[in-house]
């Protein structure tokens, strides 16, 4: 059984059907990709999968447990973590403080978590360990706002990893990154996939083709294709268009 399964999800906003019929599954230990052109319903899909929106129809099962319609908070508590398309960092805090406040130890405290937790050696070590995983060793005491854009994105992934999730969702991680930044991010995610189950939503086909074990293509609120990067690349029109052979 897959770690995460969504079946026949439908979501309408008023008269607009954004998700028509989405069936997806993500395996433990794999990197799964969700890909689609702009306006295809990717972000809505992501928000339904991670509990920000309730689906009108369909079912979401994580690790054998039905989580359909559960709040984002409950879903996060079960071990699903997500990053956002728009960055969610505390700019005036240092890199390590951003990780510290996302650790389960401080989430369970009721006040002034940063101040209290900085005296906690094991929490500090844990946070430094997370920073190391996302390639930010040496940046512990740099203020988040002064990190370069690519490192802010890495820090954000670190925040999502602080809770030691069983499944990590990344929403358009290449957003706003140039070619260099995208290449570095690709290396980072390639490392992380050795120890985490990851779902990446992206419109950048090359980025996903290089990383994913399995990809689902979404368009018109439906899964229009699914397969390994090699299987998807076999399509002659895909080949011709990515090689620029269609005139």
């Amino acid at each position: 059984m897959a770690l995460f399964e969504a079946t026949h999800l439908q979501k309408r906003f008023g008269e607009q059907v954004v998700l028509e019929d989405i069936t997806l599954s993500f395996e433990e230990g794999q990197l799964s990709g969700i890909m689609g052109p702009n306006g295809a319903g990717k972000s809505t899909c992501f928000n339904v999968l991670t509990g920000q929106y309730k689906p009108d129809n369909g079912r979401v099962v994580f690790d054998g447990r039905d989580i359909t319609g559960k709040s984002a908070r409950v879903i996060a508590g079960l071990g699903i973590s997500r990053s956002f398309q728009i960055m969610n960092l505390f700019d005036e805090f240092t890199a390590i403080e951003n990780i510290l406040i996302a650790l389960p130890e401080s989430i369970n405290r009721s006040f002034n978590p940063v101040h209290d937790i900085q005296g906690n050696v094991s929490a500090m070590e844990k946070a430094a360990d997370v920073l190391n995983k996302v390639g930010l060793s040496g940046r512990e005491f740099t203020q988040a706002s002064s990190l370069p854009y690519g490192e802010r994105r890495a820090l954000e992934i670190g925040v999502a990893l602080a809770s030691d999730p069983r499944l990590l969702f990344l929403d358009e991680p290449t957003q706003g990154l140039g070619a260099d930044g995208t290449a570095r991010l690709s290396e980072l995610i390639n490392e992380l996939k050795k120890s985490y189950s990851i779902v990446v939503i992206e419109h950048d086909m090359d980025f996903l083709f290089g990383l994913a074990d399995k990809i689902s293509v979404i368009h018109w609120g439906q899964v229009i294709a699914t397969g390994t990067p090699d299987q998807l690349r076999e399509n002659e029109w895909v080949m011709a268009s990515t090689l620029g052979e269609i005139a």
């Binding site: 008269e15 607009q16 059907v17 028509e20 019929d21 689609g36 052109p37 702009n38 306006g39 295809a40 086909m205 293509v217 368009h219 018109w220 609120g221 439906q222 229009i224 294709a225 998807l232 399509n235 002659e236 029109w237 895909v238 080949m239 011709a240 268009s241 990515t242 620029g244 269609i246 005139a247």
Partner: protein, 209 residues
């Protein structure tokens, strides 16, 4: 699907939509007329100049636009008698990348029927954006074929202005509709389509592909 056996997937019977202007002295501004059947699941290519009535025809088939006369039967069920919110279970209109879901209401919903299908039987793609750079074309074409293999009817409306548009149509369409000045003509294959001089003059130099 529980459509009755031997019922055509789509029957467009004496369909007319007439647009008029003027309060006292009415003057006709546009008229669409269509009369055709499509019996089995297939991919139907739809072509015609801008303003010829292609989108109006799609709106009438999906029940979002009320006909002046005639009827549209989807697997035998008159779509204009189905509850507004459920009409897209029979026929669904994708305008480029989003779905069109606006209905001109003429009757309260409780007086209308439920649809006979759960997942749309007829899919109308109105000028989907074929970007030649990103590879999505291939997935879209596979999707059209998959819908057909599941017994559904696919309309693919393309306004060809590049050679690859014609190539796509020839590769995946089983039959064609050509719409011009509100008149709809049907062709069983591409060669038959090209026998129509209006089609060759519409395609111009693209007719050679």
């Amino acid at each position: 699907m529980n459509a009755p056996l031997n019922t055509p997937l789509l029957q467009v019977k004496g369909l007319k939509k007439i647009y008029q202007t003027g309060l006292l002295k009415k003057r006709e501004t546009f008229r669409l007329e269509a009369d055709f059947n499509i019996n089995s699941s297939q991919i139907v290519g739809v072509m015609g100049p801008n303003g010829s009535g292609k989108t109006t025809m799609f709106e009438l088939i999906t029940g979002s636009n009320q006909p002046t006369a005639g009827e549209v039967l989807c697997a035998g069920q008159n779509i204009h008698n189905v509850k507004y919110r459920s009409r897209d279970r029979l026929a669904i209109h994708y305008h480029q990348s989003y779905q069109v879901r606006h209905f001109a209401k003429t009757k309260p919903s409780f007086m209308l029927e439920n649809p006979i299908t759960e997942y749309p039987l007829i899919h109308l793609f109105d000028e989907p954006q074929f970007n030649t750079q990103d590879g999505y074309i291939g997935f879209m074409l596979e999707f059209f074929k998959k819908l057909k293999s599941e017994g559904r009817l696919v309309f693919l409306c393309v306004h060809p202005n590049e050679a690859f548009h014609v190539k796509i149509m020839r590769e995946i369409c089983d039959s064609y509709l050509f719409v011009q000045k509100g008149r709809v003509s049907q062709a069983d294959d591409y060669d038959t389509l090209l026998e129509n001089p209006d089609v060759t003059s519409y395609l111009g130099s693209l007719a050679q592909y």
